[in-house]
């Protein structure tokens, strides 16, 4: 089953438009993401990885090109509207959760991602048992802290919660922006394992930016490298399986 879910066609994105500091970040970028792809995204700083995510997410508007979801151009939809199909986990654990709201309240907010929110009571109690089970799968004590304000959690717990929130209502596309980078190595690896499990289990389509070559090689069925705002390397399947870190390093040495 390889039908294109999201297609980026000749996407150009500039910052500081119409000023002497104008920079082209995405330069006619083309990328086709198939349903079920778990793509790891590599690239040096400034290659356009985060900008790619912000273009997909709608935080930055593109200058030209198309972003097609199941064939429909979504390039001009607002951030809020795109959350119907898109969920994100940010690098900074602080960005993904509301600090003064409890763990359960945060999960409840995520439950209605991209949906209309009306004047019906939120019905938190009906969800508590489910949230208890769900957070227990994180094995980090989050299930003991459902009524704790997330501002009082550790970075690892907050990030695990952010991940749960992003996948609670199955997104068509999940964007992970170095979501384990701010955590200590052990906690980061735990979250990485959980991520892999969840993506496989829910058959999520996922893009994951990482600076860890090992992670990029270990996880996912496809690996892309961004360079100067274009996809310069794209391997999948068996070819990716066979890829070694030495080959990747030498590839990076070539393009730099």
């Amino acid at each position: 089953m390889t039908k294109p879910l999201l297609e980026l066609k000749d996407v150009v994105l500039k910052v500081n438009r119409n000023t002497p500091e104008e920079i082209t970040i995405l330069n006619k970028l083309n990328l086709t993401i198939n349903a079920g792809d778990f793509i790891t995204v590599l690239g040096s700083n400034g290659a356009g990885k985060s900008t790619l995510f912000n273009a997909i997410g709608g935080d930055l508007s593109i200058d030209s090109g198309q972003i097609l979801l199941n064939g429909h151009d979504i390039a001009h939809e607002s951030v809020e509207k795109r959350t119907r199909f898109l969920a994100r986990v940010f690098q900074d654990p602080k960005l993904g959760t509301a600090p003064r709201m409890t763990v359960a309240e945060n999960l409840l907010l995520a439950e209605r991602r991209g949906q209309r929110r009306g004047l019906m009571p939120r019905g938190l109690k009906h969800h508590l048992a489910h949230y208890q089970e769900l957070t227990a799968t994180m094995h980090n004590g989050l299930d003991q802290r459902l009524t704790t304000a997330t501002g009082n959690l550790s970075g690892g717990q907050r990030q695990a919660l952010s991940f749960l929130m992003a996948t609670l209502k199955r997104p068509e596309i999940l964007l992970l922006d170095e979501h384990t980078a701010a955590l200590d190595p052990r906690t980061g690896q735990d979250l990485m394992h959980l991520t892999n499990e969840r993506v496989a289990q829910d058959q999520l389509t996922c893009l994951m930016i990482t600076h860890h070559m090992e992670d990029a090689l270990t996880y996912g069925n496809r690996l892309i490298v961004l360079h100067h705002g274009q996809v310069t390397y794209d391997v999948a399947g068996a070819e990716k399986q066979a890829l070694t870190s030495e080959q990747l390093y030498s590839f990076f040495a070539e393009i730099e």
Binding site: G57, S78, V79, E80, K81, T83, R84, A87, R88, F90, K94, L95, G96, T97, A98, P99, R100, M101, E105, L108, L109, A110, R112, R113, G114, Q115, R117, G118, L119, M120, P121, R122, M165
Partner: protein, 299 residues
């Protein structure tokens, strides 16, 4: 005794402002200066409408609507016009001054001999000052209940999330601009509603009655929080009303000490500043405690 009853009544009426400001100051997490304009706007609207023969209850509700419109303008300037919230509020507050003069026709309009909410036959039969206590309780129970219900709805949770973490709220599909506009509208509607109540209680509206309103409203929020410590969000909303009443007692005390009513703005500002600095004082005091402990040989 009657002074205490009067303080409770005043505290209840002014508590509307505290709840209104709570929505922006505590939940959306910014200071909205518009309230200094919408408080007299509500007073002017109600007084002008009553003078034209409108039913006092309708006039008070009209004040809410007009106040909400002023909040809408601040919200649009802030979210769509990208004007910093402080300046957006000051702009609308300044504009309100002229609008209020237009509405009233002059700087001060009396309600002498006109119907007000307080001259309602149910309230008029009560002993002195009890009218504002009874009306205040009814108003605060209704408003606090509505706000508490709202905050527990799906929309209300989105509203709280907007003030808590805008990036996250947007990434969950919450339209944060609309949340801020809605918050500013309801908040300023409530402040104007409070202005209408206070004007009817005082028997007049004055174009200068908005000065220092934000300090008074903040004082009820902060005093409530300082007095009652760690509370849930719903409890904090109730604490605003109690804080507002406490604040009136503090003012009463200050007047008893011999200060004149003209000093009240100065004293309000000092009280608020002291309350807001409490965490700093506590830290300093703790620090001393640690120092002492370090010197104590028995420790």
């Amino acid at each position: 005794m009657s002074l205490a009853v009067s303080a409770i009544g005043q505290g209840l009426l002014w508590a509307v402002l505290g709840v209104g400001l709570f929505l922006t100051f505590r939940i959306l997490d910014f200071a909205d200066m518009t309230v200094e304009g919408t408080f007299p706007l509500g007073a002017a609207t109600a007084v002008a409408a009553i003078s034209q023969g409108m039913n006092p209850l309708l006039a008070t509700l009209l004040a809410f609507v007009i106040g909400a419109l002023a909040g809408l303008i601040t919200g649009l300037l802030y979210t769509k016009g990208h004007i910093p919230i402080l300046l957006a509020g000051i702009l609308v507050m300044t504009a309100c001054y002229s609008v209020n003069l237009r509405i009233m026709g002059r700087a001060n309009v009396s309600l002498l001999g006109k119907a007000t909410l307080f001259k309602n036959h149910l309230l008029a039969g009560l002993p002195q000052y009890f009218d504002s206590v009874v009306l205040g309780i009814v108003v605060m129970v209704v408003i606090t209940s509505i706000v508490i219900y709202f905050l527990q709805t799906e929309l209300g949770q989105g509203f709280i999330a907007t003030g808590d973490n805008q990036t996250m709220a947007r990434s969950l599909g919450i339209n944060t601009d609309n949340m801020k506009i809605m918050g500013l509208m309801v908040s300023n509607g409530l402040i104007a509603f409070g202005g209408a109540l206070v004007a009817q209680n005082n028997g007049y509206a004055d174009v200068n009655m908005g000065i220092g309103i934000i300090v008074i409203a903040l004082a009820s929020i902060i005093i409530g929080e300082v007095a009652f410590g760690d509370l849930t969000l719903n409890q904090r909303l109730v604490a605003v009303t109690l804080g507002s009443i406490l604040y009136r007692f503090v003012l009463l005390l200050v007047l008893k000490l011999g200060f004149s009513a003209n000093d009240l703005n100065l004293i309000s500002a000092i009280i608020l500043a002291l309350c807001m600095m409490l965490p700093v004082f506590k830290r300093v005091l703790n620090f001393k405690h640690i120092l002492k402990r370090g010197l104590d040989t028995n420790d």
